[in-house]
């Protein structure tokens, strides 16, 4: 298997509160023969906060990362800058689009990059880890690598907002399916639900999970998501954004108190689930960092049966 190496842009949150995302991403990519090189000296993408202060500066922040990625990957080919955080992905993508349209904004950004000795040639493209897994590495390769299928695990994929909005580069905007297909490929059962792209309130945090910027509004949004997922039988909610993840996971106790209804839904990064199916050590996937995690009983039982059967074969051999 040839190793394709990608430039990895972790972003602040996937290094902090969502560090399990980065950990599991590294483990999964390596396992699938795709390398990740962390972009050296990356800076914040600008998130949604910076455009609220200065749009051009926000683009410039993201543009520096794209230009750095090109700088670190000499040659003529495209450079895929892979983000884990959906917010970073969106910020880099918007900057890429702004740089790609000739006009005053692109000229200004070009000038600013030149001031720090960088330029953007148009080679660096913003990609999301889910996009890479589904469309580059491919579901077939993932399916082949599965050693521990998550049999019976009902997973509601939560795409959140910025993975497909405002631009939808790799999936349908209204009804995305990438994560569901990924979930299917690792032997779990996707749960169809209408809220897969409904806002969790996470980016109210303006670029980093901060506890309680607008506690009540956010909590209502994320509670609706968890309640609906659970109602449709989901045992795990899969996310692809550290903000969504924290937001859905971090306040379940409080939600229970606020809405008078017990809430206890494991929320995992989709890469963690993929890693589990690939048989990667749970610790390397950062599963111990989750606040609510358990293997659903049916999946655990199927796992025990499988191990027993394999053991049996060994015994006979």
């Amino acid at each position: 298997m040839s190793v394709t190496r990608y430039t990895y842009y972790p972003g602040c949150s996937a290094e902090g509160v969502g560090r399990a995302f980065t950990e599991s991403l590294y483990a999964v990519f390596e396992h699938l023969g795709a390398g990740l090189n962390e972009l050296e000296d990356w800076n914040c993408c600008g998130a949604t906060a910076w455009p609220s202060v200065d749009q051009d500066q926000a683009f410039a922040l993201a543009a520096r990362n794209l230009a750095l990625a090109e700088d670190r990957a000499p040659g003529a080919g495209p450079v895929d800058v892979v983000a884990s955080c959906a917010g970073c992905y969106r910020a880099l993508l918007k900057a890429e689009e702004a740089l790609g349209v000739p006009g005053s904004s692109a000229a200004k950004l070009g000038g600013a990059l030149a001031a720090i000795g960088l330029d953007y040639e148009g080679r660096a493209r913003s990609r999301h880890a889910v996009d890479i897994m589904v469309n580059e590495i491919g579901l077939d390769r993932i399916r082949e690598a599965v050693v521990r299928p998550l049999t019976g695990m009902k997973v509601a994929s939560y795409y959140g907002c910025q993975l497909v909005r405002p631009s939808a580069r790799f999936d349908d905007q209204q009804d995305p399916t990438s994560m569901d297909r990924l979930v299917e490929a690792i032997g779990a059962e996707p749960v169809d639900w209408p809220l897969k792209t409904r806002c969790c309130g996470g980016s109210c945090y303006c670029g980093g999970p901060v506890i309680g910027v607008m506690p009540d509004a956010t909590m209502q949004l994320s509670y609706a998501l968890l309640r609906e997922a659970a109602k449709r039988g989901a045992e795990v909610v899969a996310t692809s954004c550290p903000l969504c993840h924290f937001n859905l996971e971090g306040f379940q106790d409080r939600m229970a108190r606020r809405f008078g209804h017990p809430v206890d839904v494991p929320v995992a990064f989709v890469t963690q689930l993929v890693g589990l199916a690939l048989g990667i050590d749970e610790k390397r996937l950062g599963l111990h960092r989750l606040l609510h995690w358990r293997l659903p009983e049916r999946t655990a039982a199927a796992e025990r049966e499988r191990v027993a059967a394999e053991g049996g074969i060994h015994a006979r051999a």
Binding site: Q174, D175, W193, P194, L195, A224, E228, K231
Partner: protein
């Protein structure tokens, strides 16, 4: 040859003496004069070679304006005319007529478009004046070279054809047939009636659609002057205005139309005891057998066998109980496609519309949630002859208690169709009324704007409001089965901002009706090419002029009626069908049409016999005399594109009104002075 400042002296002119040109600059009220310095253009024109008279007038197209031209011609002041005004597509015919009235060949005329091409599109007055001068100079230069031409006449056949037999086609066909013309009415479905035949009631009068339509349908069937071809398609159209040859294909229905009495015994006796296949006529809400009739009043009342689902066609093994059941021996399983070729003088296209595919808006859940319906499906539910005999029920057979009607689905939406579909507000009100009447349900209408212009329409809206239908002003964000409260549990929830109260509402309903918009037929491009007409980017057929020639097309002899030209309701459709019929009758009754004089011809002496032109002509109008080694153009067949002229290496091919010399002069003219 022409020297710009050499006055009247140069140019030997073939017929009416040296050119004495009259230039008439139109103000068009302020449409031109508001931007272009008309006086300066007149002043400039008077300095141009061969110009004898230069005048301006407020409205050249008015009677006094035309009279100016005629008078100057009659008095011999001028013998050629240039009018600088609007587009030739607008008034060329008017001024040619004036030129003829003045006693000259109508083709001693040239128009300069200084309105559409100058005053309306140019920001700066000086720029506009300069451009107007250039165009006038071009016209003056070329008209000096115009030759004497006779107007060509062509006979018009009195038979006519109507393509598409919805209410538009039916009305147009009956009107013309009543006037004594023989009408071929071609319909691709197995019955005529179109969309209107699917409705139960029509707005705003709530009269029964069948009661007003079916008499017209049977009149079509029995009219001695109408040849009705259903299950048929137009395959080819040749010829030109007054003399079209149309090839029509008849698809096999495996039942002889002249023998079938419509007793429907065969359907009863079909080996399939129950309907099994999606009934297209009922929007898939019911099942039909492989042998079926769309609805009881279908015209012609002849059954159709669907070979896709018929066991005999699929396996060759079937007792064929249908044949046994038929007392008239009408079945013919060996039937194949047949063709007819007819000659007609004029054509009316009334090919209708299709409704927007609601599954393109997944946020509304059509296809996902069973109780999300399109408006057309609900029309069928409401129809007494429909799948539920007029009962409005949910998929599980229960009656809805709350119904939401979502307007503008697919319309007024930059992601789908930008246009307003014109009929949805009104039909949504109609549906609201009928659903409420039949079920007693609470009905919510969600609208962006209410658009009810039309006789009795606003009054109808008032009536519906008084009936207690809820109106929520706001575009619906989505339909979901996600329950946010116990009351929403088990319902569909319509989420919309109520912009009048300024808050987001979630309204639980049992049934959501999507008021889907109108779209061009999916094969509009093929049809457009077939009839050599044009359509806009969205696919509606383009009328010749949006106001003054709303049923004509750019192809003479082809007319439009109904929704193929744009969304419209039944009254407008019928009015337009009547108008199209009147246009055709005017043409047919006159008996001839005037043809453009712009045909090609070949100068025998100059022709080198290279045959380049022969192969180029798309209409095979050029023949080659092998003995004389000369090409010649059949000017009756020639359509005047000029392709052969551009290609002729020896300059032997020329086109009337577009000779090389005329065009070279026009080029010089538009560049020489300004």
């Amino acid at each position: 040859m022409l020297e710009p400042e050499s006055g009247l002296s140069s140019q030997p002119i073939p017929s009416n003496g040296g050119p004495k040109i009259g230039v008439y600059v139109c103000h068009c009220g302020l449409n031109i004069a508001g931007k272009v310095d008309v006086a300066a253009v007149v002043e400039f024109a008077s300095t141009l070679p061969n110009v004898a008279v230069a005048r301006d007038y407020k409205f050249m197209c008015s009677d006094p304006g035309q009279e100016l031209i005629e008078k100057d011609l009659r008095e011999g002041l001028i013998n050629r005319v240039v009018v600088a005004s609007c587009s030739p597509l607008m008034h060329e015919a008017t001024f040619r007529r004036a030129t003829a009235e003045g006693g000259q060949s109508p083709f001693y005329f040239q128009m300069a478009s200084i309105r559409e091409h100058v005053s309306w599109v140019t920001a700066d007055g000086d720029d506009a004046t300069a451009k107007a001068k250039a165009l006038v100079a071009g016209a003056v230069r070329r008209v000096a070279l115009h030759e004497y031409l006779e107007p060509r006449k062509a006979e018009v056949r009195s038979d006519v054809m109507v393509v598409g037999a919805g209410i538009a086609g039916i009305h147009a066909a009956l009107t013309m047939a009543d006037a004594g013309k023989h009408v071929y009415l071609v319909e691709r479905e197995s019955t005529i009636g179109g969309h209107m035949a699917k409705f139960d009631k029509t707005f705003p009068t709530l009269d029964c659609a069948a009661c007003i339509l079916t008499p017209k349908m049977s009149a079509v069937r029995s009219h001695p002057n109408i040849t009705l071809w259903t299950y048929s398609d137009v395959m080819g159209v040749e010829g030109f205005t007054g003399d079209f040859t149309v090839r029509v294909r008849h698809r096999p229905r495996y039942v002889k139309e002249d023998l079938c009495t419509g007793c429907l015994e065969c359907i009863e006796r079909c080996i399939h005891k129950q309907g099994k296949f999606e009934d297209e006529w009922n929007e898939g809400l019911s099942k039909r057998k492989p042998i079926y009739i769309p609805f009881p009043q279908a015209t012609p009342a002849v059954v159709v066998v669907d070979p896709e689902t018929c066991i005999w066609f699929k396996t060759g093994k079937c007792p064929q109980t249908c044949i046994e059941a038929c007392e008239r021996d009408a079945f013919d399983f060996e039937q194949t496609e047949t063709f007819d070729e007819v000659k007609v003088g004029a054509l009316i296209l009334s090919t209708g519309f299709k409704t927007f595919d609601a599954s393109k808006m997944p946020e509304y859940g059509y296809g996902l949630y069973p109780n999300v319906y399109t408006s057309l499906e609900v029309e069928r539910l409401l129809n007494a002859a429909g799948p539920t005999s007029g009962e409005v029920v949910l998929r599980d057979g229960s009656k809805p208690k709350v119904v939401g009607i979502i307007h503008c689905v697919g319309s007024r939406d930059a992601k789908h169709n930008l246009w307003c579909s014109k009929v949805c507000c009104m039909y949504s009100l109609k549906l609201a009324h009928m659903v409420k009447e039949r079920t007693g349900a609470e009905v919510y209408n969600f609208y962006i704007d209410m658009r009810t212009p039309g006789k009795g329409y606003e009054e109808f809206y008032d009536k519906i409001l008084k009936e207690g239908v809820h109106m929520v002003r706001g575009r619906v964000a989505g339909v979901t089965d996600e329950a946010a409260s116990p009351e929403e549990e088990g319902h569909l929830v319509i989420r919309a901002e109520d912009t009048l109260i300024g808050s987001v509402r979630r309204i639980p309903v049992d049934m959501a009706i999507l008021a889907v918009g109108l779209e061009p037929q999916p094969d509009h491009q093929d049809v457009r090419r077939l009839f050599n007409i044009s359509c806009g980017g969205e696919g509606w057929f383009t009328e010749r002029h949006p106001k003054l020639a709303p049923v004509s097309t750019f192809t003479d002899g082809v007319f439009l009626a109904g929704t193929c030209q744009g969304p419209k309701d039944i009254p407008d459709t019928v009015a337009q069908a009547g108008a199209a019929a009147a246009e055709v009758l005017a043409m047919v009754d006159r008996g001839f049409v005037m043809l453009e004089a712009n045909t090609a011809h070949i100068d025998d002496e100059a022709c080198s016999g290279c045959k380049t032109c022969v192969g180029l002509c798309p209409f095979s109008a050029i023949s080659f005399d092998e003995e004389r080694k000369k090409a010649s153009v059949n000017e009756v067949v020639c359509k005047g594109c000029g392709v052969c002229v551009a290609a002729c290496p020896s300059g032997a091919a020329q086109q009337h009104l577009f000779t090389d010399a005329e065009i070279f002069s026009e080029i010089e003219g538009v560049l020489a002075y300004v």
